[in-house]
Amino acid sequence: METRQSIKGKVEMAKKNNLYIIVVGSGRLGSSIAGNLSNKGHSVVVVDKHESTFEHLTQEFTGFTIVGNATEIESLKKAKIDKADMVLAFTNNDNINYMVSQVAKEVYKIPHVVARIYNPDNVELFKQINVEVIIPMILAETFFNKTFEKLIGEGS
């Protein structure tokens, strides 16, 4: 059951049409989501240790890019993590995503932290620190199951 505090937090977030969002990892997924969020009018900062990955960002992206290692707190400070409403840990490494999520959640008390996880065995670990997770393998599996049912249903 949702506490009054968390409901209040959600209402306040919904009222804010301009969120400060940090996206760690500028791969295809991170870049695409960063582009969508900035188009919606949010302030987006993308952090990646390789400058070349910013090429994935679309031309419509209106936000900041910071070259830095997100496992180093200085890089997150540069991105002004203390001001963030949301942090997305979207690198291609579960360990890095966990470290970023932990710092965001436990040190900076960021209200919303979402991490991308490759290994489904790590889900529990992330959930223990109240991080929302996206697991591409499970998403693909769920999608396949639905498609499969649809195809079989149509075929029979």
């Binding site: 301009n18 400060y20 302030s43 900062v45 992206f61 209106t62 936000g63 900041f64 910071i66 540069k78 991105a79 002004k80 001001k83």
Partner: protein, 222 residues
């Protein structure tokens, strides 16, 4: 409508600042470096400047120096990725109003723009006040406000007219004449300057006639 100048070499940053100002319905003009900014500032009046520091060609530090050299009294806010204390202090020493570090939020830009507008002086109110100071022979106070008026409203006839009044009060008729002429040149329909210009010209002409008469009178005696 308030108008701001945005100086940054990155198109994306310029667009972000512009977007924030658009939301307040403030106008803006964007340029990519210090040289272009100076050119724009000479061409017309802006209510405030948002400038980056690290830019190719004339950078933000040099732009601030040039603006001071030219006595451009325009509220300026630096928007930079620099976070070193020395650089920030150096900018404040050059007279900036605020320093925003990148990455910034639109709210920071909007608040800075509103603060810059608070520094805008009302020309009619200030002109009335300056007139009072001139009448009381408080010339240094009047000059202080006049320099603000000149930098904020360079194309208005009012600052020149007031400067003329000050010279007149100091009995510097020729200087006053120059100022009234400048005021009249800026706006021929500005009646106070026209009236003063005519009066000063006729006073000078009458003075000349008197001198000539005296001279010719003296000549006759000899």
């Amino acid at each position: 409508m308030p108008e701001f100048l945005i100086v940054d070499d990155e198109t994306q940053i310029r667009n972000m600042i512009k977007k924030a100002l658009d939301e307040l319905e403030y106008q803006s003009v964007s340029v990519a470096n210090g040289e272009e900014a100076l050119k724009a500032l000479f061409e017309k009046h802006y209510d405030g400047v948002f400038t980056d520091l690290k830019m190719p060609g004339m950078d933000g530090f040099k732009l601030l120096d040039a603006m001071n050299e030219e006595s451009m009294n325009i509220p300026t806010v630096v928007v930079s990725a620099y976070t070193e204390a020395e650089k920030i202090i150096s900018c404040f020493q050059k007279g900036i109003m605020d320093f925003i570090t990148k990455p910034f939020t639109p709210e920071e830009i909007k608040n800075a723009a509103k603060e810059m507008l608070k520094l805008r002086i009302d020309i009619k109110e200030t002109a009335q006040y300056v007139k009072g100071l001139i009448q009381q022979n408080a010339f240094s106070g009047a000059e202080k406000y006049l320099s603000k008026l000149f930098s904020s409203y360079p194309s208005s006839p009012i600052p020149h007219y007031l400067m003329g009044l000050k010279y007149l009060k100091e009995a510097k008729k020729l200087n006053a004449l120059r100022q009234f002429k400048a005021s009249y040149a800026l706006d021929e329909s500005y009646e106070p300057a026209k009236k003063q210009l005519e009066e000063v010209i006729s006073e000078i002409e009458n003075g000349d006639k008197a001198i000539n008469q005296r001279k010719s009178g003296n000549g006759k005696k000899e």
